[in-house]
Amino acid sequence: MALDATLAGAYPKIGDTTEEQKLRRSLHQFDKGELSEEALEQIKDEAAQDVIQQQMEAGLDILTDGLIRWDDALTYIARGISGFEMAGLIRYFDTNTFYRQPVVESRLEFIKPCLVQDFQFAQEKSSKPVKAVITGPYTIAKLSRNHFYREFKQLAFDLAHIIHKEAQALEEAGCRYLQFDEPAILNHKQDLSLFLKVYEIVTAQLAKAEKTLQLNFGTLEGLYPKIFEVNVERIGIELIKGHPNWQVLKSAPFTKKLMAGIVNARNTKMESEAELNQIVHDLGEHVNVEQLWLSTSHSLEFLPRSNARKKIELLATTAKQLRGASVS
């Protein structure tokens, strides 16, 4: 175990050069019926491979598949669950991006794993471990519209069982890092007990993979430190300079491993290496830096690709230097 650099989830699907926009052009051709589904899949594979290559070149220690196939945080998973139908576009938290809202029309049921193939593809192309990113059941439940369940908690529990199966399949496929994204709990802190029960279901008997709970788009205030009762090994939070989470950290010891979102994925302004070193130094007061993950505050899709690339390079360099420093 050492201090590692990773990213919070998605990587920008396209860049600004003609070559890097092949996926965009192909999707456009596919929409017009000028490209077959197989040809499009091939291009998605190429894009995913390119994104993995970029992460390796940047020097990250734990990669993701870039979530190249995801349109948004909800639909890619929801389309693979029976009982959902997709409705209109809704703003995703306070961003200028949108998601298509899943609507629960009948009892939700697991069909088959929807992330395993992407994981296997990514892991095959990567010399570094690949972390699987899964939108958590609580957030899926909260951001969907419920036309079927009498109570929200029934919806959340059914989704918990479904996501559990997905996680289990990923673990069986060899995935050693599972990340559950649960931004919605930060807006509904009164639901914490329900949330903890949901995670008992999600994580039951998952013993091989290290599980991370990613909590961004807000602060841990009001959840802290009770959130540590959740059955995961690591918690990811936003910790860019000046973020209110810094205050929260002072209120109680951080008793799990930390994935620290220290690079701002929502602004192009570059952090300096000195700034990041200071942040890690400050984190040393709260957590064991040897087990720390340095990450981006959010998915990198809020940035143009060229800026995203610079940000992950900076993270990787920072982690590498800090590792070197602790050895000497």
Binding site: P12, D16, R91, T97, K269, S306
Partner: protein, 319 residues
């Protein structure tokens, strides 16, 4: 006159202009050639608004792309970013503040004068608000969102004053982003105070796509005479809010759903106006579409606006 009709600002660009903008971006036609077509399209939209009897006109924004990027391209201190995804296969470029924001020259004033010269009816001066420009941009220069936003407010105010001096009786400063972060509503209000400071013209703001229950009634503190709201998109649910706390300003009543291809029927629009009349004094109601119409087709837009004006006429007769 009761229930003056107006629109939120943008209209679809005719095919010849869309083509010309593409050619201009590839360097195939000159700026002068493009502007000639932008003026032609503006003239056509002014004629259309006159013809169907809209009361307060807009220039239709034939010369603008994105409502934030347009201003960023014309203010000093901004650069434009690489592509960022909004949804699906749709990407856009965001402004990046890289230095102190300044207005070297008036941005929209010549277009305002041109449009106003074509009609006796008032044409609105149309600006994007400081909070929205800040929220939709990256910032590599200012030390806080607040500093960035308040600087933009000063710059927007300079533009608004020039529009007023050029004869604008109505100045609309759009803040669609205002409803996304209720915790920053105070900042948005403060910024609008700076942007509208000293203006004698009638001031309006347009807000959309948001969680209004979270910012109402506080949003009534935005220092403008009129707030224009998207109401049809959620079938006038918002009116319920106004029963709890009265809407104290003039309202721009959105009666056309701009996200739908379907053209509303006259009776639908009438019933929307009548719902509002039960809650808001008739002297305070202006009637408009929910939002800008630039994403709708040409014929859809025209058909929707015709229905709106006809519906208002019918309601007026009953008042």
């Amino acid at each position: 006159m009761l229930l003056p009709t107006t629109t939120v600002g943008s209209f679809p660009k005719p095919d010849y202009l869309a083509k010309a903008r593409f050619q201009f971006s590839k360097g195939q036609i000159s700026k002068t050639e493009l502007e000639e077509l932008e003026r032609k399209a503006t003239r056509e939209w002014i004629e259309f608004q006159e013809e169907i009897g809209i009361d307060i006109l807009v220039d239709g924004e034939m010369y603008r792309g994105d409502m934030v990027t347009y201003f960023a391209e014309n203010f000093k201190g901004f650069e434009i970013s690489g592509l960022v995804r909004s949804y699906g296969n749709r990407y856009y470029r965001k402004p990046v503040a890289v230095g102190e924001i300044e207005r070297a020259n008036p941005v929209t004033v010549e277009w305002f004068k041109f449009a106003q010269s074509l009609t006796q009816k008032p044409v609105k001066g149309m600006l994007t608000g400081p909070y929205t420009i800040m929220d939709w941009s990256f910032d590599e220069h200012y030390s806080s969102r607040r500093d960035f936003c308040l600087r933009l407010a000063e710059v927007v105010c300079e533009e608004a004053k020039d529009l007023e001096a050029a004869g604008a009786q109505y100045i609309q400063i759009d803040e669609p982003a205002i409803s996304v972060r209720p915790e920053e509503l105070d900042l948005a209000i403060e910024a609008m105070g700076i942007a509208t400071q000293g203006l004698k013209a009638h001031t309006l703001t347009h807000i959309c796509y948001g969680d209004f229950p979270k910012i109402y009634p506080k949003m009534l503190e935005i220092p403008v005479d009129q707030i224009d709201l998207e109401l049809s998109n959620n079938e006038f649910d918002l009116l319920g809010l106004f029963k709890k706390a009265p809407f104290t300003k003039e309202i721009g009543l959105g009666v056309l759903d701009v996200h739908s291809h379907r053209v509303e029927t006259q009776s639908e629009v009438i019933s929307r106006i009548e719902k509002a009349l039960k809650i808001i004094p008739k002297e305070k109601i202006y009637v408009s579409p929910d939002c800008g119409l630039k994403t709708r087709g040409m014929e859809e837009t025209k058909a929707k606006l015709r229905v709106m004006v006809a519906a208002v006429k019918e309601v007026r007769e009953s008042l």
